[in-house]
Symmetry: C3
Subunit: 155 residues, 3 copies
């Protein structure tokens, strides 16, 4: 492993951090820029997308201000192969559905593929995860539940 | 990006990890040593500090043994500019207020500034975060709640 | 710090990520391969092991499909000393005991020792943590609790 490899690994990690930051801040333009033009995605058993525009369209439509998403990714294991790379990550996510008064906690194992473009920038070529665990609870079971801060609160 | 950049980025990450470890272990001397002498801080909308001594005094006074804090920081995006640097991080924190029987869960986006001193060591010049989400629940809603371990338990 | 140090630190981080991935996926062969042959472990006040086979035997026996474990490690502070190294980490773990309907949330501070073998590979020589915080709650207090995904569900 030489310095170019260390730099490439770091660039891929930065890409992934930008991807989750864009997702949770609902910055769909930044989110789109993380994907290669032929990127695909498979999130668990329920969601599969054949293009980056499909991924972005789904997120934009389903993750409005009443869906607070909090994704954090850990444990990067990156394998480089020239201008391609594979990445394994551990995901923890929480979704607060303020309209439905539901709180979802999940854990997944991501297996991504990355590609370095002609411009030298790494992008996500495929992203996908296996769901390890997921639970849903209603805030109605926790009468004291008090939402103190919400960046996406409206009105 | 050369090897000096990679080392500087790693040193800044180590600084941040030391900062949260000192905070959660209530090691206020170590916590103070993470800040430059002219450091400032802005934590969400509620807390603003004009000096490192003010930051430390507030934490020391408000985070006694009945306030267990658990901060974990993720997704470092570090931008170097000579002896200064900017850092973006994703924070997840939990505070357990044993006297009040309250449990707080929060998520924030940190935007820090770092400075390298004449001694070559990086320190926090400014730290601040935007609160993305925060909730509070009472343990009274969860009668089975059983605190099995607490490093800061007294008596 | 030179490039060999940066590579060694990264290899140790990869080792730790493989260790938690193996643990949570219940891949006991991969888990065993993370340890040196004379490795020891001390998990909090309750669990101490004198050999890697003892560690693996305990986990295999106690962490069956009705014990979903989710470990995530953060904040690596790695100190190299030739073919040995020390590592401090922040752990967050959750255990879902589906048969007992219990959910455990814990936080620990890991202090590990690593050794590089004659084959050049880093392995865990000692792993141990101090428990900072741990709570247990019963799902009976949360009637809406709905387990939506479980990689280890049987039947």
């Amino acid at each position: 492993m030489d310095i170019a490899d260390l730099v490439a690994i770091r660039e891929i990690e930065q890409l992934k951090y930008r991807y989750v930051r864009a997702l949770d801040h609902k910055d769909w333009e930044l989110f789109r820029s993380c994907f290669a033009d032929d990127a695909t995605a498979t999130y668990g058993d329920r969601l599969e997308f054949a293009s980056p525009d499909d991924i972005v369209a789904y997120m934009r439509e389903n993750l409005g201000p009443a869906m607070i998403t909090l994704h954090q990714v850990h444990h990067p294991e990156i394998e480089l192969a020239g201008d391609e790379a594979l990445g394994t990550w551990s995901l923890q996510d929480r979704v607060i559905m303020t309209d439905f008064r539901l709180l979802l906690d999940g854990y997944s194992c991501y297996r991504d593929r990355y590609a370095r473009g002609a411009d030298g920038a790494w992008r996500i070529a495929h992203t996908g995860y296996e769901r390890i665990y997921e639970h849903l609870v209603s805030m109605d079971d926790v009468p004291s539940f008090n939402l103190l801060a919400n960046k996406f609160a409206t009105g």
